[in-house]
């Protein structure tokens, strides 16, 4: 078989079983969860499109760090976004969007919210359902992958991996992708960042916005510097997850989408020939 494969594709090595059923099932569950969480989250954000630092929202004083709105100008209304005192005209995307003859005054445009119209109640219903699903599946994967050694074997970078970091960065910059049984070190660091920093951060800051959970775990409020800071961090974690998603998709496309998709659907992954000779 390998010989045949090589005649068809000169760079193709053997197929290896790379992704367990649990990892594949969880991967696609999280993809669905994050899609709905993002779009319902933007709906919720739109109900009060300002982020603050501290316990409360300053109305008589200013502790806002980010605000999306619309302003009246001599040329008519414009979408307006403020970040740390810097002002941006974001007409068409943030603050004011939709058709020119009938603009909608809303922070995030209807194309990226669920529902498309303003409906905080429904946004919350969708958000909390998928938040539960995400947390339950994350814990399932965490326990399962600690038990079967997936995290230790495949996800956590070893000291040997870290030594290879500079070379791996250069390889990535040159789009020279190695298809091995195991993840490369940049991949491991990215997945570690998502699993062990971004997911816990977004879940805990989400819980921190619950007045009920504040009573149960007041220390969590202290940890994140108050409810409004937690809300800001929740938003920031969302942005970083969106960034991860973009890089993730680009890397799948660069590394070969058919092979990558197959490994995340069937578990089987085509390695490069250069990997075979390696000890």
């Amino acid at each position: 078989m390998p010989a045949l494969a090589q005649t068809v594709r000169p760079h193709a090595g053997p197929l290896v079983y790379r992704q367990s059923f649990l990892t594949r099932l969880m991967h696609w569950t999280w993809a669905v969860c994050l899609f709905f969480l993002l779009l319902s989250g933007l709906q919720i954000f739109n109900a009060h499109p300002t982020l603050y630092i501290g316990s409360e929202s300053g109305f008589a004083y200013d502790n806002a760090v980010f605000r999306i709105g619309a302003v009246e100008t001599p040329d008519g209304p414009r979408g307006h976004t403020r970040l740390f005192g810097h002002e941006f005209d974001t007409t068409g995307v943030l603050g004011m969007s939709g058709p020119a003859e009938q603009p909608r005054y809303r922070a995030f445009p209807s194309a990226v919210t669920i529902p498309s119209y303003i409906d905080l109640a429904t946004g919350r219903v969708v958000h909390f359902f998928f938040a539960w699903l995400l947390v339950v599946t994350l814990l399932t994967w965490l326990i399962g992958s600690l038990a079967d050694g997936h995290i230790r074997r495949d996800v956590l970078p070893t000291r040997k991996d870290l030594v290879k970091l500079p070379k791996d960065i250069v390889d990535h910059l040159r789009l020279r992708i190695h298809h091995g049984q195991s993840y490369n070190v940049l991949q491991k660091l990215a997945y570690c960042g998502v699993f062990f920093i971004l997911f816990p951060l977004i879940v805990l800051t989400g819980l921190c916005m619950s007045p009920g959970m504040n009573a149960v775990m007041p220390w969590l409020l202290e940890l994140f510097g108050g409810r409004q800071t937690a809300r800001t961090l929740h938003f920031l974690a969302m942005l970083l997850l969106v960034l991860f998603f973009i890089v993730h998709i680009v890397m799948v496309l660069v590394a070969g989408p058919i092979n990558e998709l197959r490994s995340m659907i069937t578990g089987w992954y085509r390695t490069s020939t250069e990997e075979r000779g390696r000890p």
Binding site: I44, P115, M209, N214, Q228, L253
Partner: protein, 260 residues
């Protein structure tokens, strides 16, 4: 390497198209979830029951909402919702500084009773500096003074079948046709921080914030803290009120527990 690189570019183009169509899908493909009779929505809403059960389990020791210090009161309490009810009954009471106001306790109680504002103020008071969290996302810290609800419930004697406390209010929505009402379970009703507030930041409770009496249920969101309360009714079910979801905003799709 040329051949695969070309196909990569093609795939990048395809991928970009895929991502943008996925984003466009958010446009209105899921708008049916906003319909109250959607069966999918009904399924998603079950997660709210799970939240209620989970939080009640975690709170079973009667955990208190965080309280703040005087120095953390940096602004007035931001009013929201109704700010100046215009029902005749309310305007009459307001014109007389609520001297004729009576808080009725009714429903599944052994001794239905009415309390004047003076009687409420003469009962042991509790003052707490807490954070008000609006469902929209903002928060505001303020000092609330009032009478704990638990001793009042003991005073009237709650009957065995009672499961919920309904708060009926003077303010009306939808052009003055729909009265505001709210409800909570007996756990929240008997919680030590659940008070019938008549004072705010050391002053009498202003009209904009719910005078003469507003309820504070500190472990829940703002819409669970009704203003302008005139009657507290103990019931075994709230299905006969409004659309049967337990509150004005609940009837409009918001979750009943309001703990997150």
């Amino acid at each position: 390497m040329n051949e695969p690189l070309l196909s990569r570019r093609k795939f990048i183009g395809l991928g970009a198209a895929g991502v943008s169509s996925l984003m466009l899908a958010g446009c209105d493909q899921f708008d049916f979830l906003g319909e109250s009779d959607s069966t999918v929505r009904a399924m998603l809403e079950k997660a709210n029951n799970l939240t209620y059960r989970a939080q009640r389990l975690l709170m079973r020791d009667g955990a208190l909402a965080p309280e703040y210090s005087e120095t953390e009161i940096r602004q007035g309490q931001r009013p929201n919702g109704s700010r100046d009810p215009e029902t005749e009954e309310y305007l009459d009471l307001k014109s007389n500084d609520f001297v004729d106001y009576r808080l009725s306790i009714s429903g599944l109680v052994q001794r239905p009773k009415k309390y004047s504002l003076a009687e409420l103020r003469n009962m042991p008071a509790r003052t707490q500096i807490t954070r008000h969290d609006c469902v929209e996302g903002w928060s505001c810290i303020a000092k609330w003074t009032g009478t704990a609800l638990a001793p009042i419930l003991d005073d009237v004697g709650v009957k065995a079948g009672a499961r919920y406390v309904i708060f009926h209010c003077f303010d009306k929505y939808d052009d003055g046709t729909v009265p505001y009402y709210e409800s909570c379970d007996l756990i929240d009703a008997r919680h030590p921080q659940t008070i019938l507030a008549y004072g705010l930041n050391g002053q009498l409770l202003p009209v904009a914030n719910g005078a003469p009496v507003r309820v504070r249920v500190e472990r829940a969101l703002g819409y669970k803290q009704p203003k302008y309360v005139h009657t507290i009714e103990l019931v075994d079910s709230f299905s006969h009120l409004g659309s049967g979801k337990g509150g004005f905003w609940e009837d409009r799709g918001y979750d009943w527990f309001g703990g997150i």
